[in-house]
Amino acid sequence: MDRKLKLLISDDSKLLRKKLRSELEALDCEVIEAENGKEAILKEMNEKPDGVILDIVMPEVGGIEALQVIREVSPEVPVVMLSSAGTPQKLMQTLKMGAIDFIQKPYSSDQIKKAVEQIRKRAAKNE
């Protein structure tokens, strides 16, 4: 890819979005933010990101519902779950639904870097 990777991050924590934005921008990504699942669905449809990083516990529409809709609307878009709710059941459920990875909070920079690389590879294939 010879352009910046465009990523949508959805988390109700403004602080987490700020920190994650900073890390993703350092990895040469363009970042769009959503503060809940409903906003994530709308922004995914309107902004057409290359990938989505999605929290699970969010107000209005949660991450699992948002994942389901995004997979239906844009099945080719890679989604990485980033959540504190990393029980084996949630992990299996979201991977079965099509998420490509699940990062348990608190995350490390290496985990984010790896997720970005996975999304970059998928996005390159989709082009």
């Binding site: 924590s13 403004k14 602080l15 987490l16 516990v57 504190s84 709710a85 029980t87 059941q89 909070k105």
Partner: protein, 212 residues
């Protein structure tokens, strides 16, 4: 046994008073805990759990195991994520002590068991907790990111708790954290604990339903 566990044991077994403990934590004089440890007999690998078990009355017979496991995780997390050595006070918190207005965050965990956990603190201690978790400087809880920081800390701790419970086939889901000002938390099956850390004192509230 690490120094914080030693401090909890020394308090549990009456070798240190609250005042002495608070002062040693404030000065981060951990060597003093090791010196005093010579007076300890027997072993206790889970002194935080012991403290909670002693504070929980017979009315919390069902909840006490979950509450004590939760508190051990929270105390470990304060050290791991905030570098804040902390110890649970062994004295009950009288209701009138929490009748002032505190800054608070809480989160409900629901499913095979129902627990709401929360942290309440006065302005300075709340800002310090938020500062340490986020590694950003907050001078007051009203800072737009300060509440967010402590909500996220609680969310991360509760996420780890839910994973540990899942291993025991107890499925619990996290709800969205809440924040605000709180006086007199009023939950069912409630336990209010006073926690001393190196930067001051705050409260942890555990209940079976929302207390904010």
């Amino acid at each position: 046994m690490n120094r914080r566990y030693l401090a909890q044991r020394l308090l549990n077994e009456g070798h240190l008073s609250q005042k002495e403990l608070a002062e040693l934590l404030r000065q981060r004089s951990f060597g003093a805990f090791e010196k005093a440890a010579a007076s300890l007999e027997g072993t206790d690998e889970h002194p935080a759990m012991t403290a909670v078990r002693r504070l929980a009355g017979p009315e919390l017979q069902i909840e006490v195991e979950a509450y004590s496991e939760y508190m051990e995780l929270l105390m470990d997390s304060l050290m791991d994520f905030l570098e804040a050595p902390a110890v649970i006070d062994t004295q009950m918190v009288p209701p009138d002590e929490t009748s002032a207005v505190f800054y608070a965050v809480s989160q409900r965990m629901d499913g095979d068991m129902s627990i709401v956990s929360g942290i309440m603190a006065e302005s300075r201690e709340f800002a310090e907790l938020a500062t340490r978790y986020s590694e950003e400087q907050f001078d007051a809880p009203e800072d737009e990111y300060a509440m967010d920081s402590l909500e996220e800390f609680l969310n991360v701790v509760n996420g780890v708790f839910s994973v540990r419970e899942a291993v025991k086939d107890e499925e619990i889901d996290l709800e969205v954290p809440r924040h605000g000002k709180l006086m007199n938390p009023m939950g069912n099956q409630q336990l209010v604990l006073r926690v001393y850390a190196d930067f001051g004192m705050f409260y942890v509230v555990l209940a079976s339903d929302e207390f904010m």
